[in-house]
Subunit: 275 residues, 4 copies
Amino acid sequence: MKTAIFGGDKRMLFAAKAFVEAGHEVCIAGFDDMISLCEIQICTPSEAAHLCDIAVLPVRPLSGGFLNTPFSREKLPIAELIRMIGKKPVYTGCADQLRSYALGEVHDYAAREDFVWQNAQLTAEGAVGLLVSGYEGSVYGSEILITGFGRIGKCLSKLLTAMGAHVAVAARKPADLAMIAQFGMEPVDYTALDCSVYQVIFNTVPAMIFDQEKIGDMRDDVYLIDLSSKPGGVDFQAAEARDLTCVHALSLPGKTAPLAAGTIIKDTVVKMMGA
Amino acid sequence: MKTAIFGGDKRMLFAAKAFVEAGHEVCIAGFDDMISLCEIQICTPSEAAHLCDIAVLPVRPLSGGFLNTPFSREKLPIAELIRMIGKKPVYTGCADQLRSYALGEVHDYAAREDFVWQNAQLTAEGAVGLLVSGYEGSVYGSEILITGFGRIGKCLSKLLTAMGAHVAVAARKPADLAMIAQFGMEPVDYTALDCSVYQVIFNTVPAMIFDQEKIGDMRDDVYLIDLSSKPGGVDFQAAEARDLTCVHALSLPGKTAPLAAGTIIKDTVVKMMGA
Amino acid sequence: MKTAIFGGDKRMLFAAKAFVEAGHEVCIAGFDDMISLCEIQICTPSEAAHLCDIAVLPVRPLSGGFLNTPFSREKLPIAELIRMIGKKPVYTGCADQLRSYALGEVHDYAAREDFVWQNAQLTAEGAVGLLVSGYEGSVYGSEILITGFGRIGKCLSKLLTAMGAHVAVAARKPADLAMIAQFGMEPVDYTALDCSVYQVIFNTVPAMIFDQEKIGDMRDDVYLIDLSSKPGGVDFQAAEARDLTCVHALSLPGKTAPLAAGTIIKDTVVKMMGA
Amino acid sequence: MKTAIFGGDKRMLFAAKAFVEAGHEVCIAGFDDMISLCEIQICTPSEAAHLCDIAVLPVRPLSGGFLNTPFSREKLPIAELIRMIGKKPVYTGCADQLRSYALGEVHDYAAREDFVWQNAQLTAEGAVGLLVSGYEGSVYGSEILITGFGRIGKCLSKLLTAMGAHVAVAARKPADLAMIAQFGMEPVDYTALDCSVYQVIFNTVPAMIFDQEKIGDMRDDVYLIDLSSKPGGVDFQAAEARDLTCVHALSLPGKTAPLAAGTIIKDTVVKMMGA
């Protein structure tokens, strides 16, 4: 099986290595400064598209109509890449962004439950890493609020509870609030959210949760981490105006755990091919 | 109560603040660039010694015969400081280093069980932070070895297990090995230590554990963290020769959790004064 | 507030006490041998219906057209009880069974998420109690299978994992299988279920899961507990024919934790009244 | 290897089976009503002593000068048994009780750290089983006191915390109190023990802890379990006078987990023979 990796960040390099270990012949394109990488072939996009049996693209394949290639100075229109790949099967995240261009099958590895959960776990770990590295207090014994009880909220609240923090989770659905209580954490209704009591606040909800008023209620020494994707769920200007410590943690887990994140891309693609 | 803080790192500044919150009048000496810090008085050592009822020194008060003042360009011989303080009570870590100089009572807050355990917990958290930030894999599911089952080994192994790692702990005493097994981890006898199977290795033992031979057995991609104080328990030259990723993590938790570390200094001193 | 409890098992007596503690005036009907119970009034059904402002019925209010009264020798047709209660609000479990009879509002406390989760937790605890009391091995270190990852499956698998068992959970949905893996347990697809490796098996699924063939695969010393309601998910005849240890655990948690089960009935009704 | 089991309760039968699985030829004595047990030979004591290479006795081998044989109507003076066994090696618990009689080597398996910890874990599980079966409330969310932080206290507090109880542990040593706090439980000094706040109380200390006065402070509905060996640490008369629910749990884990308890006897003896 000849597998081509197109673009993406460091995790795609680890995915490439993992495909090699799984017995694939692997080539990569979209990494300008990479001169050699074990037995992986470094290619141009057209060479890679020509050589491969399957194409693997990043979790977020697109950046303004171009292939998402943070490690390349060249911009490759996605339509052009897809034309090069032709009818060969494509494995990517956010497949919907590609479907209008695609000529062959497009498989969405990031839509798979196992991928999403493992990715959530890695994101939660990365968030813990940010907290431990940046926060001057201890996790143990601290008062932490998490907004949202989706996969990342579940993984993160479990980790922080295991580390000895007092964790409150804000959620909307009664079923989630009941499950939160059952797991030994404090369920909080958004309408009753009192931001003044928490030393650490994580947002996982992709909507404006922490507006100017809520920012105004927070402690001066709060540590605020937004894990939701752009534009995030925090009024960053209000946070800056108050001089709060506030981090918008984008591109977890690609930055903090590229090896693990790359490995689960490989694992998922291999499972999908076998199914 | 007038309390003077002499020297130390960032955690002593947080300790100073914590004493203020506990109702003390606080002055600090040994922080050259500090111009103002809430209601804390910034002093020279002799002013502080003159003003105070009690003197609080860092966990490691000495650095080659001088007061340990990483944030000051001046070097103050410890004998001189002690003379200034006179018969006022001194609270410090490593009190033995001061006893030959001391004129009054010297209390060792770092010898107290509650301090040592809380400090171990903070150190373990800091170690987790180093791991999550630096290691490219995930903690969840990784194979981790910890050498030593003292307080730091206990706290660290508990945290990593809670985070989903497979944790093996090397220890000498049969009682420790039995307790390790009982806590759901893998007990390892030093004589049977196979370093080749672990992705992450923590040393907590202040003795040469990982010599050239053991370093030679490790995986190329091992992540090796030495938590023991200088000179450490790793043959760092051998590790460098093999190009292993190796971190000697000194001055945890002062660096990673200065607020929490300062707060427990205050807590302990206040408890000792009340007792 | 005058509250009448009609029928049910021991947990309804504890619910009655809990209503007293919450400031209600309480009367009970359907407990023949009860002569006095703190300040609770012991009544006939018609007296209770006459006195009360609200009526509280058991989680399973019906038993073949009659009020479910395991502690009474008299059989009261549910239609008659409902006529006595008239238009007063009724709080019950399984409200659907009563809706055709009802004259006033019927509120289903057992349909509430918080009730269901807390009840699941109590059921899981009761199941652990059955296991520890009946099984001759230890939970710690044992190989346990749970079928189903609903609320009871979630609570039970969490408890057993926390107790040091190796837990596998069989589920159908990919999302559940992924979550099981994420929580540190072994996900098992029903199609790949190998019953021969488990020392303990819990069924939580109300469908025939363990048929004659699967029973045939089990170890001679398996400990098999069916938590699903009648008729259960086990071929009990086949299990008996093989002389397996097999328990059909009905009426958890009313039997094992009547105080806690009664308290959550009171808690839920009070919350519903306040909403 | 020919192994003879002399006396003891059900766990010794499971130990016998476990020795068979480990490849030993096994005979047992001291079980009157046992007619056959897989391939195990049922013997008189003198036959067993004659046949065997090693003798295995119960954790508590003595009962008033006689071999401890709860499943036999005959009383065998220990001196007579030891004379029969002669110079063959004896493995037993409480070896000190036998040393004055012994002719050959006496090995104490119950003095080994691994045995003691595993036994403590089984005892803790059995205690949880007693609680779940007998207590009418739930473990989850309950207020529990444990006196003593030896091995059983450690295992039990860990289990109950994992099950969601709020656990306080009373201990004497500052090191223990600090470790208790670090493990997320509430440390309690004996001098400040307020018995009135706990729903469940476990004693693990073999000394009079709960005297008449402390019994007087307890809640009416307390559930009190004494795990210490006779005479126990509770004024049982005072408890009875107050009509408290009080259990003296002797012979855990032999009663609740004989298979597991027997297996660790076999495991330990085999390890000692190999060492």
